[in-house]
């Protein structure tokens, strides 16, 4: 069973969602990170950061505007 880290960045403003994601990716190195966000800006920033670091990104949007972003490497 590979370790999964969940980052709950809902309600946080710039640059915290991206910062927390960056820390989680660096800590894990390889595996799965799940990021919860509730703003389009945070979603874009987390997605861009993860892609630049070579992680594959899957975004699951919710109707209420929040999203679950799954990052794998």
């Amino acid at each position: 069973m590979t370790e999964v880290i969940t980052v709950d960045a809902r309600g946080l403003s710039c640059p915290q969602p991206a910062m927390m994601t960056r820390q989680a990716l660096q800590k894990l190195g390889k595996g799965t990170v799940e990021v919860l966000v509730d703003s389009p800006t945070a979603k874009e920033n987390v997605t861009r950061l993860a892609k630049n670091a070579g992680w594959t990104v899957t975004v699951e949007d919710s109707p209420d505007g929040s999203a679950r972003i799954v990052l794998r490497k």
């Binding site: 309600g11 640059p15 915290q16 910062m19 861009r48 209420d64």
Partner: protein
């Protein structure tokens, strides 16, 4: 619409926004705005504070349509791209405070980050010290962010909350249009409630409709592209992400070229428009502003755009700026072209101490 949305959210979005601001700001000067002040979010908020009688510095009173346009343009964009999301609850009181201190610092330098870059692009070398101060201030903010600083989480709010700031802007627009109808006392002095400068920077402005349309256009682009003149430096250092920084560089280059074409590039330290030559306080003022903006999560323009998309916390920051501008000009904290005000240096030091305490103490409360 989705093509525009994709482009603006790409790495080219901030660059396009920066180029548009860089071309339009010097043009606004050409059309009547004060020198190197095509757009200055802090100066224009200060002018609005003066127009509302929150300070009585007679030379800086005018309801600036650019600010109204920024908020309403961002609101239109937020609706067009389905991003209008009323929210609040992330330490509104602290955001109000840092909004005040950001303005105190910026008014010692005489400009927000936007104007610092625009002053540089107009050949005002005093801006170099302001920009260096800004970078140092953002750097201090980054240290706090790295050590756990947070203003906590916002929560979704009723739709009505998101409308408060846009409605205030519509009221300001109405006041701007009806202001000439307001009376004067027996001695011919303006009796309020709206005050407009008859001389000085407040009396210099482009036609209302031009300023408003420019503001709306910039607000629309900047909301979707997330353009931010403080986030630019912060993200480049903290996240190694240059997306916003390219936007600021595009602004400086575009403004420089536009100033050259319009004959508005005048290199030097002395006799620059609405500026003073005190290197130390140009620098220190912007250290305070840079720190305060970083603690709040973005530059003053970004706060207006966020307020336009329903962010009640950013709206509190804007209220703090408005109040701070009133205080700064009432109690001689703001600089003038002759140099820093009597209490300018003192408020910068006090502001730095308070912002450092905020940076050290504000943490996300565990529930």
């Amino acid at each position: 619409m989705s093509v525009i949305s994709r482009f603006l959210s790409s790495r080219w979005g901030p660059v396009l926004t920066g180029v548009v601001i860089g071309v339009l700001a010097p043009l606004l000067v050409f059309w009547g705005n004060p020198g190197n002040m095509g757009v200055c979010v802090v100066c224009f908020t200060r002018d609005i504070a003066g127009a509302l009688g929150l300070h009585r510095a007679g030379v800086v009173q005018y309801i600036r349509p650019e600010i109204i346009g920024f908020v309403l343009g961002a609101m239109v964009s937020a609706f067009a791209f389905k991003e209008f999301r009323p929210r609040t609850g992330s330490s509104p009181l602290v955001r109000f405070l840092v909004g005040m201190f950001a303005v105190f610092g910026a008014l010692v330098f005489l400009g927000c980050p936007w104007r610092a870059y625009l002053r540089l692009a107009g050949g005002d070398w005093n801006a170099v010290f302001g920009i260096l101060g800004l970078i140092v201030g953002i750097g201090i903010g980054i240290v706090f962010l790295r050590t756990g600083y947070s203003l906590g989480r916002s929560r979704p709010a009723p739709k009505a909350l998101g409308w408060v700031m846009p409605v205030i802007m519509v009221i300001l627009l109405v006041l701007l249009l009806v202001a000439p109808q307001f009376g004067r006392d027996a001695e011919g002095n303006p009796a309020g409630p709206i005050f407009f400068s008859t001389s000085g920077p407040g009396s210099q402005h482009a036609p209302i409709i031009v300023s408003l349309v420019v503001g709306l256009f910039i607000g629309f682009l900047a909301q979707r592209s997330r353009f931010c003149t403080v986030g630019a430096v912060r993200d480049a250092v903290l996240l190694r992400d240059g997306r916003l920084l390219y936007g600021v560089l595009a602004l400086i280059v575009a403004a420089f070229i536009t100033n050259l074409i319009l004959g508005q590039f005048h290199p030097g330290f002395e006799k620059q428009p609405v500026a003073h030559t005190n290197m130390l306080w140009n620098f220190a003022g912007m250290v305070l502003a840079g720190l305060a903006f970083t603690l709040a999560g973005g530059c003053p323009g970004r706060q207006l755009f966020l307020a336009g998309e329903g962010d009640g916390d950013a709206a509190m920051f804007v209220c703090g700026m408005l109040t701070g501008a009133g205080i700064a000009h009432t109690y001689n904290m703001a600089s003038s072209p002759s140099g820093p005000g009597i209490y300018g240096p003192m408020i910068v030091i006090a502001g730095l101490i308070i912002c450092i305490i905020i940076g050290l103490t504000m943490r996300e409360a565990k529930t």
